[in-house]
C-alpha cells in the first residue's frame, strides 16, 4: 500500500490542476452479499472511508475500507476505474473497474479480484456539494459471488493540486 501511494505521488508531482488528485470521503452503505445460504436484505450496514486518485478525466485509482456493524467484519478494496461522465451534468457519472478485495472474514467477503460497476450522483450540488449518492455492483472472479451496495458519501477534502 505504501509503495502504491508513493508511486502515485511521484506520478502526480509534475502536474498542476485545480481539481485535487487525491480525495477522501466518509461513507455509509447498505450492502447485499450474494450468499446461497443466507440472503437477507440488506446483509449489513457499513461505515468507512474511500480514497480516490484521479489520474485523468476517465481513469482513477480507488481504495476503500469499511466496517460491517452487524457481522463485525472489516473489508478493504484497492483497484482502478474507468469513468464515463454525462457532459451535460458532471454531477452524475458511471464507472467500470476492478478491485482486489480483502477482509478479516472470508465468509462475508472472499479475498479475490472483483470487477465492478459504480454510479455516483451529486444530487444536491448547490445545497450539499459534499454529499454524493452512490451504488455499486461487483462480482468475485473466484467465489462467483455478487455484492451490491447503495450508500452516501461525504467529501472530506483533497490534496495534490
Amino acid at each position: 500500500m505504501k509503495r502504491l501511494s508513493l508511486l502515485l505521488l511521484l506520478i502526480a508531482a509534475p502536474a498542476w490542476s485545480a481539481e485535487p488528485i487525491f480525495k477522501a470521503y466518509a461513507g455509509l452503505n447498505g450492502v447485499w452479499f450474494d450468499s446461497q445460504e443466507d440472503i437477507k436484505y440488506p446483509s449489513d450496514l457499513e461505515g468507512g472511508a474511500v480514497i480516490r486518485a484521479s489520474l485523468s478525466k476517465h481513469i482513477s485509482a480507488v481504495g476503500s475500507t469499511f466496517y460491517g456493524f452487524d457481522k463485525a467484519y472489516v473489508r478493504a478494496a484497492l483497484g482502478a476505474r474507468v469513468t464515463a461522465v454525462n457532459a451535460d451534468s458532471p454531477d452524475l457519472s458511471v464507472g467500470l473497474g476492478i478491485q482486489y478485495h480483502v477482509s478479516n472474514d472470508e465468509s462475508v467477503r472472499p479475498q479475490e479480484w472483483a470487477p465492478d460497476a459504480s454510479v455516483g450522483w451529486r444530487a444536491w450540488p448547490s445545497q450539499a456539494p459534499n454529499l454524493v449518492l452512490v451504488a455499486q455492483g461487483s462480482y468475485g472472479l473466484e467465489s462467483q459471488q455478487a455484492q451490491v451496495l447503495a450508500g452516501i458519501r461525504y467529501e472530506l477534502g483533497g490534496i495534490g493540486r
Binding site: I11, A12, P14, A15, S17, E19, P20, I21, K23, Y25, G27, V50, R52, A53, S54, L55, S56, K57, H58, I59, S60, V62, R81, V82, T83, A84, V85, N86, A87, S89, P90, D91, L92, S93, V94, G95, S118, V119, G120, W121, R122, V132, V134, A135, Q136, L149, G151, R153, E155, G160
Partner: protein, 82 residues
C-alpha cells in the same frame, strides 16, 4: 435514460442497445434461474460490439499514455467515491 446516453457517448454503443440491455436486466430481476441469466448475457453480448470496445479502448489508451508521460489531469467524478 441518462446513463444509456452517457455510456453511448463514451463507448460508441448505440443508446438504444443500452436501453434494451437495461430493460432486459429489469425484466429478469431477480436473476434466480440459469435461463434468465443466459438471456441477460445474450443481450449483453449483442450490446457490446467490437467497435464499441475499440472506441472505449481508444479513449483509455490515450489517457494512459498521458499518465505515463507525467500529465495528470484529475477530474471530479462522483462515481469515484463509490
Amino acid at each position: 435514460m441518462i446513463i444509456a446516453e452517457v455510456l453511448s457517448a463514451l463507448a460508441g454503443v448505440p443508446a438504444n442497445n443500452i436501453k434494451k440491455l437495461v430493460a432486459a436486466g429489469v425484466s429478469v430481476a431477480p436473476w434466480d434461474s440459469a435461463e434468465e441469466g443466459r438471456r441477460l448475457l445474450l443481450t449483453l453480448d449483442r450490446a457490446i460490439t467490437p467497435e464499441a470496445i475499440a472506441s472505449l479502448w481508444g479513449v483509455v489508451s490515450a489517457e494512459l499514455r498521458e499518465i505515463l508521460a507525467g500529465q495528470i489531469n484529475p477530474a471530479d467524478n462522483p462515481s469515484d467515491s463509490a
